[in-house]
């Protein structure tokens, strides 16, 4: 996720202080990973340097979180461009999982075990997400669903690979 674009977008509804930006970000997008203050300042100083925000006021007291930022026209254009540009679909070719399986075959280890151990771990994560989804609000549900669908895709790959292990062994050890 682009933290810069997200913080910029949060400024579209009006100027905010650094601490306020962090608070809103954590509340809406932080879920597992709240921002560090350091990330907020380094991001804001980059946006400032690129003319996407301006300092609109400074509160009494010290610390950079006291600065109030406002978005510029260029900033709004930048958010607009980000939102309308599709993300690159990540094909995850040559994933770690693939490497592990091939390496297990090459070294005459039990590749089915490698797949099964991963499979159990994936399903364990899916249980935790499902539980969280069940107890959460709509935002939680959507976020968990995104993760669940990705884990499910991995799991299907694990199944399919397990079913083709003999052929893969032949191919890689030839």
């Amino acid at each position: 996720m682009s933290i810069g674009h997200t913080l910029l977008g949060l400024l579209e509804s009006g100027p905010r202080h650094g601490y306020d930006l962090k608070r809103v970000f954590d509340e809406k997008f932080g879920h597992d990973r709240p921002l560090h203050y350091g990330q907020v300042y380094s991001t804001m100083s980059r946006l400032l340097k690129n003319g996407l925000v301006v300092v609109d006021g400074i509160e009494a007291g010290d610390g950079p979180e006291r600065k109030r930022y406002a978005i510029t026209e260029a900033g709004i254009t930048d958010v607009e461009r980000w939102l309308t540009t599709p993300e690159k679909p990540e094909p995850y070719l040559q994933s770690t999982l693939y490497t592990k399986v091939v390496l297990a075959l090459l070294t005459h280890r039990n590749a089915a075990d490698v797949l099964d151990i991963q499979r159990a771990e994936h399903l364990r994560s899916m249980r935790i997400l499902t539980d969280r989804k069940r107890k959460g609000d709509l935002a939680d549900q959507l976020i968990c669903d995104h993760a669940l669908f990705h884990l499910e895709a991995d799991l299907r790959w694990l199944e399919l690979t397990a079913a083709r292990l003999d052929r893969l062994r032949e191919a890689v050890t030839r």
Binding site: D113, D116, A120, E121, H122, M126
Partner: protein, 230 residues
């Protein structure tokens, strides 16, 4: 041979079942504790349904043992086994389990009626279960007049209406889209947990299996307990 699992309600070991030249089960097993939800996963044709049918006493394995609450299922007479099925087990399948001529509430009440419960009382209990599965408003409709997801929830209510100790579910969401399938799973697991029924959940979908407590995987008629695999 796997060691008997202490505290298990239902234990199957070393099951073997062939259909002519086809080996459906080749040493499969499973143990189920009271109130536990176990997913049975694996590719199509691997033997999941056959395992479920054996566990539930619907199919007799060629060899192997199945113990339910201390009793050997394979040694029971047919009539004793079906009595056990009626009183202790509930079933949900992928589709086609509701009687089309009966209304939904009559369908849910049916297992109680077959056990001799008077009609009024049976339908009152049935309706309480339909409320838990959020389908009480369908009470007067016939199965042909409700959606697939609604029909499955009626089927879950029917499976739980007798207060079974084990619910056998074979691809209960197999014919539903993911949103409806999840709602069925949520309600099914909630209802099973609140009545302390154990569940054997056959599914090849990981997102459905994620509602379970643990999973076993069946491949080529052999089962693997994933908890003990890791």
């Amino acid at each position: 041979m796997t060691a008997p699992v202490p505290g298990a309600l239902l234990t199957a070991e070393n099951l073997r079942k062939t259909y002519g030249p086809t080996v459906a089960l080749d040493g499969a097993g499973l143990s189920l504790h009271p109130g536990e939800i176990v997913a049975v996963m694996g590719p199509s044709g691997s033997g999941k349904s056959t395992l479920l049918h054996c566990l539930a006493g619907i199919v007799t394995p060629d060899s192997g043992s199945i113990t339910y609450d201390g009793h050997e299922l394979t040694a029971m007479s047919d009539s004793r086994r079906s009595a056990l099925r009626r009183s202790e087990f509930g079933f949900v399948f992928q589709f086609g389990q509701l009687v089309p001529e009966l209304t939904c509430v009559e369908n849910v009440a049916l297992p109680l009626r077959l056990n001799g419960t008077p009609r009024k009382e049976a339908e009152r209990t049935a309706l309480a279960w339909m409320e838990r599965l959020e389908v009480a408003d369908l009470r007067g409709k016939r199965p042909g007049e409700v959606s697939g997801g609604q029909g499955q929830r009626v089927a879950v209510a029917r499976a739980l209406v007798t207060g079974p100790r084990v619910l056998f579910a074979d691809e209960p969401t197999g014919a539903l889209d993911s949103l409806n399938g999840e709602r069925v799973m949520e309600l099914l697991t909630e209802a099973a947990r609140s009545s302390n029924a154990a569940v054997v959940l056959v599914t090849h979908e990981a997102r459905v299996a994620a509602y379970s407590d643990r999973e076993i995987v069946v491949r080529d008629g052999k089962s693997r307990d994933m908890e003990r695999a890791v």
